[in-house]
Assembly symmetry: C2
Homo-oligomer: 399 residues x 2
C-alpha cells in the first residue's frame, strides 16, 4: 500500500482523489500496489468532501509520518507550496506537482534536493495538462537530439483566438465568452499576457536541454492587442493566428520566445483549436513529432499527476537523472537577434523586393500590398531591410 | 558496456547502428552506459559497411555469447525472425523489434517467453515509426481507461490520399508518385489493401487492452477503390478522406476495423497529411489525446528501436507486465453490428428522413441529394433504414 498526501484540495487536488478511487483497478494493475490518500492539507473546511477524516491543517503532521511516501502538491502560488515541497523532499518523500509557478521558479533547487535525498520531484501536470509530453521527453526521446519545440500551451488564449477566427468576435467578446464558460479566470492576466505560456515553455526547454531559463528574461508578447486585422492577415498568409511558444538552441545559447504567430496551414499546430494544447518537437533524426490533448481541466491534469505517481512507483530508487535540470547560467539569445520566419505585409512592388538580399515566398498580392514569407532571418535584419517601406503587418511565422 | 546484436542490416538495422554512433552522447547520458554493436547478422555480404568485422551468418554464435544482452530484430517477414527472437529470449536476451508481422502474429507467445525468462520483448518501432505511442500507452496512460483508438497508421496510403485530394490525382497516378518517391514498395499490396494498417491497430489494441486480436479476423477495407468521387464526397461532408483504423471495446467485446473514412475537419486526424501518421486516443477522464509523427522511414523507426533499448536498460529486471498481452480469446464484435458514425449521400426529401427513427446532422443539400451524418448506429441498422432509397455514398465517419 502506497500512502500519499494531497496538498491543496481545489479542482486538481480533489480530481486526483476522485480518479484514484474511480480508476483504482487500472492504477492497481499499473502500480502493482494500492494507492491510498492518507492526508489532505487545505486551509478550507473539508466537511462533506468525504475526506474530512483525513483533513489536516499542519504540514508537520505529514512530514512526521514515515508511512507517507509521496506528497502531491497542487496548491497554486509559490508560497508555501515551495517551502512545503522542499520540506517533503528533505523528509525523504517524493513530490509530484501540477504547480508550474513553483517549477518555473524553484524547479532546479527542488530537483537538487530530491537528488540529495534519493527521492523524486516530478511535474508532468505543470505543462500541457493531460498531454504526456514530459514523459516523452525524458523517456522515448531521451536518446535523440531535440532541435526545437513549438507549443500552443494555454487553453484560454487558444480558445479566444479560435473564437475570434471562427465567429469574428473581438478579443474582448471572446474573453467574455471564455469567462462565462469557465475557461478563463476572473483575472485572466496570466493567460492573455502570455506569462502562463512562458513558464511552460521554460519547463519544456528545461526537460529537453537540462537548463531552466528564468521566465522573466524571456521575450513574451500576449494576445491582448490582437484584432480582426491580425486574424485576417494570418488568413491572407494561408495560416492561423495562434499564441506560440518556441524554444531552440541557437549557436549554443538557448533562445525562447512567446508571441502571437501566423501558423502556416501545413503545420499541424494550425489545426489545434479551442481549449486544446499541442507541443510540436523537431527531434533530430526522429523528424517532427506532435503531442496533442487537453491542456487544462480537472481530470486531464489530475491524470497527469497520477501518471507521475505511477512513474515514481515504477522507478523506485532510480532517481538520479529523471527529468533533472539545473538553472541556466548562459546568456539567452536576444529575440531580435534570433532567426525565425516572418510573415510580412508590405507596400512594395515585386522588383524592389526581388532586389533585396533575402529569399521569400510570395503568399498573396492584393492592391499594392505584398504578403511575404521570409525564413531564417532575425527581426533586426528584417527591420533594417524593410526600413523606410510601409510595413502594415509583421508577425513571427511557424512553418 | 551494453552489447547488442542486430538481426537484419537493411534500412532500419543499419539506421540503428548509425544512430547509436551519431547520438552516442545522448544515449550514453540516457542509458548511463555505452551501447555497442557486437554482431550484425545478415545474409548479404557486409563488405564496405563498416561492420564487416562484426558480421556473422549464424544465429548460434549470437545465442552462445553471454555478453550480448539485447537482440534487435529488424529482418522483416515472420521466418526466421520469429524463431530467432524466440531463441534469443530463451537464451536470456531481451529482444527489440520493428517487425509488425511477427508482433501481430506471434507477439503473445514471444511476450510469454520473455516473461518466463525474465527478459523484455519490446516493439515500439512496429507501430507508427518514430511516434512514441506504445511507451505512452504503457507508461503515462497506464492508470486510465482507454475507450477508443483511431489511427492513420500507414504513410503510403496517407500520401496517396493526400495527393488525390491536393492534386486531383487518380489512385493509380498517386500510387505511381509514391513509388517514384520511395514511399511505396514495388509491390504495394500490404499498404493499399489495408493489411499493414490492420496489423498495427491489432498491436495498439493489444497494448491498450492486453489482448491480441488475430488480424486476419478484422474487417479490413483498403483504398484501391477510392476515386475522385469519394474525395469529393468527403469534402462535401466537410471532411477529408483517410484510411482509418479504429479499435474500441463494445459491450465487452473488442471491435476493430480498417476502412476509408470521412474524417470530419474538427477532428485533428483530418489535418494529418502526406507520409505522417497519427494516433488519436480517447482516454477516459484524460480526454482526447493525439500523437503525431513520421510513421515510417529509416531514422524515425531506428529511433524507436533505440528508445526500446533505453527502456530495457532503465527497467532492468522489472520485466513483468510491461507491454504484455496474451492472445484474444473472445469473439470480435462484427463490423456490421458495431456502432459507428456514417456519412451518407441519399436521394430523399427532408420529410422522409425526418420521419426515420434516427437523429442526424444535415451536412449539405445539393440537387436532390442530402448529405447526412448519422452517429452511433450499426451498418446493419443503417442499411435497413435506407433500404429502397438511392444511396450513392455511405462511408464510415470519424467525428
Amino acid at each position: 500500500m502506497t500512502q500519499i498526501a494531497i496538498l491543496g484540495f481545489g479542482n486538481i487536488g480533489s480530481g486526483v482523489a476522485e480518479m484514484l478511487t474511480r480508476n483504482a483497478a487500472y492504477i492497481q494493475e499499473a502500480a502493482g500496489d494500492d494507492i491510498a490518500v492518507k492526508y489532505v492539507l487545505d486551509k478550507r473546511d473539508l466537511t462533506g468532501s468525504g475526506y474530512e477524516d483525513r483533513a489536516v491543517k499542519s504540514m508537520q503532521e505529514i512530514l512526521c509520518d514515515p508511512s507517507v511516501s509521496i506528497v502531491c502538491e497542487m496548491m497554486g502560488g509559490t508560497t508555501p507550496a515551495f517551502e512545503y515541497s522542499l520540506a517533503a523532499l528533505k523528509a525523504g518523500k517524493s513530490v509530484v506537482t501540477s504547480n508550474k509557478a513553483v517549477v518555473a521558479k524553484h524547479g532546479a533547487e527542488l530537483l537538487q534536493a530530491a537528488k540529495e535525498n534519493g527521492v523524486h520531484y516530478l511535474y508532468e501536470a505543470s505543462v500541457g495538462g493531460g498531454i504526456p509530453i514530459l514523459h516523452a521527453f525524458d523517456d522515448s526521446l531521451k536518446g535523440c537530439r531535440i532541435d526545437r519545440i513549438d507549443g500552443i500551451l494555454n487553453g484560454t488564449t487558444n480558445y479566444i483566438l479560435t473564437r475570434m477566427h471562427d465567429c469574428g468576435s473581438s478579443f474582448e467578446d471572446a474573453l467574455d465568452d471564455a469567462k462565462r464558460l469557465g475557461y478563463a479566470e476572473a483575472d485572466p492576466t496570466a493567460d492573455v499576457s502570455g506569462a502562463d505560456t512562458c513558464r511552460k515553455i521554460c519547463i519544456l526547454a528545461a526537460v529537453a536541454w537540462g537548463k531552466l531559463v528564468d521566465s522573466d528574461t524571456v521575450y513574451c508578447e500576449g494576445i491582448t492587442e490582437m484584432t480582426d486585422e491580425h486574424n485576417a492577415f494570418a488568413a491572407s498568409c494561408g495560416g492561423a493566428l495562434k499564441l506560440v511558444a518556441t524554444a531552440m538552441q541557437s549557436n549554443g545559447a538557448p533562445s525562447l520566445s512567446v508571441s502571437p504567430c501566423v501558423v502556416m496551414s501545413e503545420n499541424p499546430l494550425a489545426s489545434v483549436k479551442g481549449v486544446f494544447n499541442a507541443v510540436k518537437v523537431a527531434a533530430g533524426d526522429m523528424g517532427d513529432l506532435m503531442f496533442y490533448g487537453m491542456g487544462a481541466g480537472k481530470f486531464p491534469t489530475a491524470g497527469a499527476v497520477i501518471s507521475d505517481i505511477l512513474a515514481i512507483l515504477r522507478r523506485g530508487d532510480e532517481t538520479d537523472s529523471y527529468r533533472f535540470f539545473t538553472n541556466n547560467t548562459c546568456e539567452l539569445s536576444a529575440y531580435g537577434e534570433t532567426k525565425y520566419a516572418y510573415c510580412v505585409k508590405v507596400k512594395a512592388d515585386r522588383k524592389t523586393i526581388d532586389a533585396m538580399p533575402f529569399t521569400y515566398t510570395l503568399l498573396k498580392e492584393e492592391n499594392e500590398d505584398l504578403y511575404l514569407l521570409v525564413e531564417d532571418m532575425t527581426k533586426k535584419e528584417l527591420d533594417a531591410l524593410l526600413c523606410g517601406m510601409t510595413v502594415s503587418m509583421c508577425m513571427r511565422a511557424i512553418i
